[in-house]
Amino acid sequence: MEVAIVKYNAGNVVSVVNALKRVGVDPVLTDDEKVLRGADRVIFPGVGEASTTMAYLREHRLDSLIISLKRPVLGICIGMQLMCRHSEEGDVDCLGIFDTDVRRFPQAMLEEGSRLKVPQMGWNTIHHLRGPLFDASTEGKYVYYVHGYYAERCGQTVAESDYGLRYSAALQKDNFYAVQFHPEKSALVGEEILRRFIDM
């Protein structure tokens, strides 16, 4: 099993590498087209700002490469947002794999009288799960989030969370999978999701 992590200017991927090692995979970090095309699984991670990372992907022609991959691809956090049509972060057109847009959480949202902070930082539950990343036992479990922008719900939404409004916690279309939360930091629940992605 060859697992490749897309190497680009998306911040720190040490925790993704560590989590994959914990589930028994030794991934390669690469931006080499041949290696990415040959990999059994590709992970598209990301911590960063949407418009600058999109510009980097285009400049290095990673945008067309990612769209054309045929084996399972997993976007994480900003990786997921970049797989959508458009992001309000830097008002940028993204890869357009998923038929949904990325918006900023409104300021001053209230939940039971207390103000919701933006970005959302911490553990929230996932619901209405579908598809091979999840099983029945994952319903309602907590996963770790850090994000100020969210993908709107659409027909490709395979998990939802609620933070003042309901948004896509996970998306899936054909061989493309994506999660807004950080499975690599979500304790055993996250490791199970990574394992299912590897084993699918």
Partner: protein, 251 residues
């Protein structure tokens, strides 16, 4: 719904934790990795490791330790202590830390917050503030482990930190720290209501009610504690169960 976070804080000196942990039998007493794993299994939502080593040898040891922690722990962890510049941050984040907390260095050089946010993202930057309530009712910020007073006022500094790109505020009340009489809830609520970023309460936890009050009265997003966890006075599963019964959302 987003859960309120419970965060044990571990002090590390020369690669070893300096306060004992009584809630679990450790194979190697004082092993920060094993302690972190035990807390993670017990339901801690995040961990903070503070390097209290003075020497540069000790700091190298700490970086190695961060690498070990990152390999084993599957929940987020923050590192702090002895961070002076962006190079220290880079070294710790590359070793696998999820967040770095800055305190004295940020007051000495506030641009450091902008640099961290710009280079690594706001979510990496925890601004730790130690403050003491003066006789005139003003919360004054202190540096160098609470030994040196500054001209900074708590709210003003926290707002500036947020403006510069800090992702969270870790507020320790020096008046409440170590006395186990509860957190500084009024000051916490004032901070939390004025800031858009999360506030972590620190200093004063003695009972489970103190955690409840930090969330309900202090509007804190997370509560940090050390000795009540290390000495087994409060077990995290019991605490979570109690808080849930009080209507607080916990994982």
């Amino acid at each position: 719904m987003l859960a309120k976070r419970i965060i044990p804080c571990l002090d590390v000196k020369d690669g070893q934790t300096v306060k004992g942990v009584n809630f679990v039998q450790l194979r190697r007493a004082g092993d920060p990795v094993e302690m972190g794993e035990a807390y993670s299994c017990a339901g801690a939502d995040e961990l903070v490791y503070l390097d209290i080593t003075a020497s540069s040898d000790g700091r190298r040891t700490f970086t190695e330790l961060v690498r070990e922690i990152a390999a084993h722990i599957s929940i987020p962890f923050t590192v702090g202590g002895g961070i002076n510049d962006i190079h220290d941050i880079e070294r710790l984040l590359n070793a696998g830390a999820d967040k770095a907390s800055v305190n004295s260095a940020a007051i000495r050089n506030p641009e450091l917050i902008n640099d961290i946010a710009h280079n690594f993202g706001s979510q990496m930057c925890v601004l730790a503030i130690d403050a003491h309530l003066e006789d005139d009712g003003r919360w004054r910020c202190y540096v160098n482990g609470g030994r040196k007073a500054t001209d900074r006022e708590l709210l003003e500094w926290a707002l500036e930190g947020q403006e510069r790109g800090a992702g969270e505020i870790l507020f320790t009340s020096m008046d409440h720290d170590g006395v186990k009489q509860g957190y500084a809830n009024e000051a916490l609520a004032m901070l939390s209501d004025r800031l858009d970023i999360p506030v972590i309460a620190s200093g004063g936890a003695g009972t489970m009610e103190h955690f409840r009050d930090a969330f309900i009265k202090g509007h804190a997003d997370a509560a940090l504690a050390a000795s009540v966890f290390h000495f087994g006075e409060i077990a995290i599963p019991d605490l979570k169960h109690y808080l849930a019964g009080e209507g607080i959302t916990v994982r």
